[in-house]
């Protein structure tokens, strides 16, 4: 059935709640209204107010309460309205959710999912556009996932809900309605008319830790996730390059095998993400490639990322890694 990414995420919640009455969903505006992006629409009506409900505007409280619920033995799936709002909950995520199993010797565990819309491209300014994934990938005990299409969003979310450990589930909000390729002046193809919008209505999971090779080619390896998968595809096409384009889907656990095999084949690699560059996830990817593929590399690895500045409003398209910037860097990677 044709679905937007929002509908696929809503459908995943619905199936999870239908299958397991321990699954509870809450967050700001999540209950009666169904979420500001509608990802939880209709769930309160269907499953009742004790399984899908609104929360006070308090991210620390949402995650802290979810940690207690997970320790009790139910399965909280919580929404942080924008990833930019997650910081008050950071201590509960890092010192509590991620540490509980280890510090208690497995006595208490914390299976919970924290969903949050992430990334830019919507004129959201610095408080509705950030990509904080590296703040989570750096934390031992957390898994960090970012889908790039409705099919994966549903399968990965159901896998995250099944997972026995805390999972950070980042939803690129620019992709909610269709694959955005960085050409902000052109209309997007809606998911309803896209192959990746054809979502199986049955329950299925997409395993965490498996990347997807979205295009295959001998010229170079391009590693991306979220919105940048489509920007990378557009840029490679415009540069007339036949690249291996890897959609990571899951940052932790990381599918090193797919990355290493591809870079060993192409000998050239570009890494693309929206987040700021310094200590971004691209640095980790670059280090992994250097450690494992050094003697196969023909040219230095290049990172094409957001600038090391707060995310701007009016200057959004000069901040967002554009197809032009990607093409320019891809060409440098292709130099002899």
């Amino acid at each position: 059935m044709r679905m937007t990414m929002i509908e696929a995420i809503q459908n995943a919640h619905d199936l999870a709640m239908m299958q397991d009455d321990k699954v509870v969903v809450f967050g700001e505006d999540v209950g009666f209204f169904g979420g500001v992006f509608r990802c939880t629409a209709g769930l309160q009506e269907k499953y009742g107010k004790s399984r899908c409900f609104d929360a006070p505007i308090n991210e620390l409280g949402i995650v802290g309460a979810a940690v207690g619920m997970a320790a009790y033995g139910i399965k909280p799936v919580v929404e942080i309205q924008f990833a930019d709002y997650v910081y008050p909950a950071y201590d509960q995520i890092v010192s509590e959710a991620a540490r509980l199993r280890h510090r208690s010797g497995g006595d208490f565990t914390c299976p919970l999912v924290i969903r949050m819309p992430t990334g830019g491209g919507i004129f959201g300014g610095q408080t509705h556009s950030q990509s904080p994934e590296a703040l989570f990938t750096h934390v031992a005990g957390l898994k960090t996932v970012m889908p790039s299409n409705p099919i994966d969003a549903k399968g990965l979310l159901l896998a995250a809900i099944e997972d026995p450990d805390p999972v950070i589930f980042l939803e690129p909000k620019r992709l909610y309605n269709g694959p955005f390729d960085g050409h902000y002046d052109k209309p997007i193809v809606p998911w309803k008319k896209h192959d990746f919008g054809d979502v199986d209505t049955e329950y299925y999971t997409t395993p965490l830790g498996k990347a997807k090779l979205v295009e295959e080619g001998p010229d170079l390896t391009i590693i991306a996730y979220g919105t940048m998968v489509y920007v990378a595809q557009a840029a490679a096409k415009e540069a007339e390059l036949n690249a291996d384009i890897i959609d990571l889907r899951s940052l932790v656990p990381l599918d090193m095998e797919t990355i290493i095999a591809s870079v060993k084949k192409t000998g050239r690699c570009a890494i693309v993400h929206e987040a700021t560059r310094t200590s971004g996830f691209g640095a980790e990817l670059s280090a992994v490639i250097q450690e494992n593929c050094f003697y196969h590399l023909e040219t230095p690895i290049r990172r094409i990322t957001g600038w090391d500045t707060p995310y701007p409003h009016a200057q959004e398209w000069d901040y967002f890694p554009s197809p032009e910037r990607l093409i320019s860097d891809f060409n440098k990677v292709m130099e002899d």
């Binding site: 321990k22 620390l60 802290g64 309460a65 320790a71 009790y72 509960q92 510090r103």
Partner: protein, 409 residues
């Protein structure tokens, strides 16, 4: 128009080293004087409770007033033994730390009644979310002292596998949530746990614990909002032991009102209790537990007590507290007060107390001997380094398997 330059107000305690200890402005109602509201009463009708102190034991050891609960002499004796055990345990473990057998220790000297009495109200399946000064919850629930010591020594039998600082216990079976060490985080988690119990149609309740200083953290306020919004079946305990390391309790509340009064803005019934009065702590906790279990929601309890020892083994309170402050503390010592009550009832004597003290000490020594036979932090037989790679996730991912091999395990 006033043009004086503004000055920052920084609250200060009444006395510091060099001063005479002074508790003259600490208002203490007489035992039996404070009323007992009905379980169903609205928070608004009992605002006075946040400015009084529930007390049951008189100076002479008599138990009086509306909060006098149905505790049999045997239960009272067992409460006394719990507190004595806790004190002997603390004293032995402090000494062990001084001898270098472990890195760190936190005692609860003077506060034994708070945790020991509260625990006896709880039922199998209820969950405490404690701080590091509620070891009495474990002692009073019959958790093996040797296992606590294994944790303190980080030896091979430590259930936490050497990963946590001494005293950061965890026992799901005994209703004792894993202690974080980060202040306040457990307060909102207790509320979440209680919400989960309600969501599941269960009958279990949670108890949250926090110190006076940590009520300043955001987690406290998050817990209050969530507890009041969802009417969570939780007991919210603030243990006001007067000191947060070197910071006096007035710093966390603008030196006005009380910690219990924090409940008023949230519509949460709130009261203060004499934390050194075993019978009062028991009665107030029982009242709060009954409220929670019967669907009336959260209760905020401020336990007024005194941290008679240092914050931890890394702390020397003589550099910031007036000499003799702990003996000048007007609510006395919880063990002495319960002992006096039992003698008043005619079921205890000085002689029996001395015998009990020796018996308790020998039990603690036996546990210590057994724990030390397994190992201490310095004697070897520590948990394997292999263990640090376990329990990061349920299933070890490939990168951790690689790193474990790199570390030689």
């Amino acid at each position: 128009m006033v043009t004086e330059p503004l000055k920052l107000h920084v609250p200060e305690p009444g006395c510091r080293p060099g001063d005479e200890p002074d508790f003259s402005d600490f208002e203490i109602p007489k035992a039996g004087e404070t009323r007992k509201p009905d379980l169903k009463d609205d928070a608004d009708t009992m605002r006075d409770m946040a400015f009084s102190i529930v007390r049951v034991l008189t100076k002479d050891g008599e138990a009086v007033g509306p909060w006098l609960a149905d505790l049999s002499p045997d239960k009272l004796k067992s409460g006394l033994i719990d507190m004595m055990k806790m004190r002997a345990f603390d004293s032995r473990m402090l000494a062990a730390q001084r001898m270098g057998k472990t890195s760190f220790y936190i005692q609860c000297l003077g506060e034994e009644a708070v945790a020991c009495a509260a625990q006896t109200v709880l039922q199998q399946g209820d969950m405490n979310f404690p701080t590091y000064r509620q070891s009495g919850l474990l002692i009073a629930s019959g958790y093996p002292m040797q296992t606590m010591m294994n944790q303190i020594y980080s030896n091979a039998a430590d259930p936490n596998k050497g990963r946590q600082l001494p005293t950061m216990y965890s026992s799901k079976e005994y209703g004792f949530f894993s202690i974080s060490g980060n202040l306040g985080t457990q307060f909102i988690q207790a509320v979440g746990w209680a919400m989960a119990s309600a969501i599941s149609g269960d009958t279990k309740i949670a108890t949250a614990w926090i110190g006076d200083g940590a009520t300043s953290v955001g987690d406290f306020h998050a817990a209050m909002v969530f507890a009041s919004t969802y009417r969570a079946p939780v007991i919210l305990n603030v243990v006001n032991n007067q000191w947060a390391i070197s910071t006096f309790q007035g710093m966390a509340r603008g030196n006005s009102a009380t910690f219990a009064a924090r409940g008023h803005g949230f519509g949460i019934p709130a009261l203060r209790v004499d934390g050194n009065d075993y019978l009062a702590v028991y009665a107030v906790t029982k009242w709060a537990a009954e409220r929670a279990r019967s669907g009336h929601g959260p209760t905020l309890i401020e336990h007024v007590t005194y941290r008679a020892g240092g914050h931890s083994t890394s702390d020397d309170p003589s550099s910031y507290r007036a000499k003799g402050e702990s003996t000048a503390w007007p609510l006395g010592d919880p063990i002495e007060r319960l002992k006096k009550h039992l003698i008043f009832l005619g079921v205890w004597s000085e002689k029996r107390h001395t015998q009990a003290k020796a018996q308790v000490l020998s039990e603690v020594r036996e546990a210590q001997k057994a724990a030390e036979a397994i190992g201490t932090l310095i004697s070897g037989n520590a948990p394997s380094t292999r263990d640090i790679f376990e329990d990061v996730f349920e299933t070890m991912p490939p990168n951790l398997i690689r790193q474990r091999k790199e570390a030689g395990y």
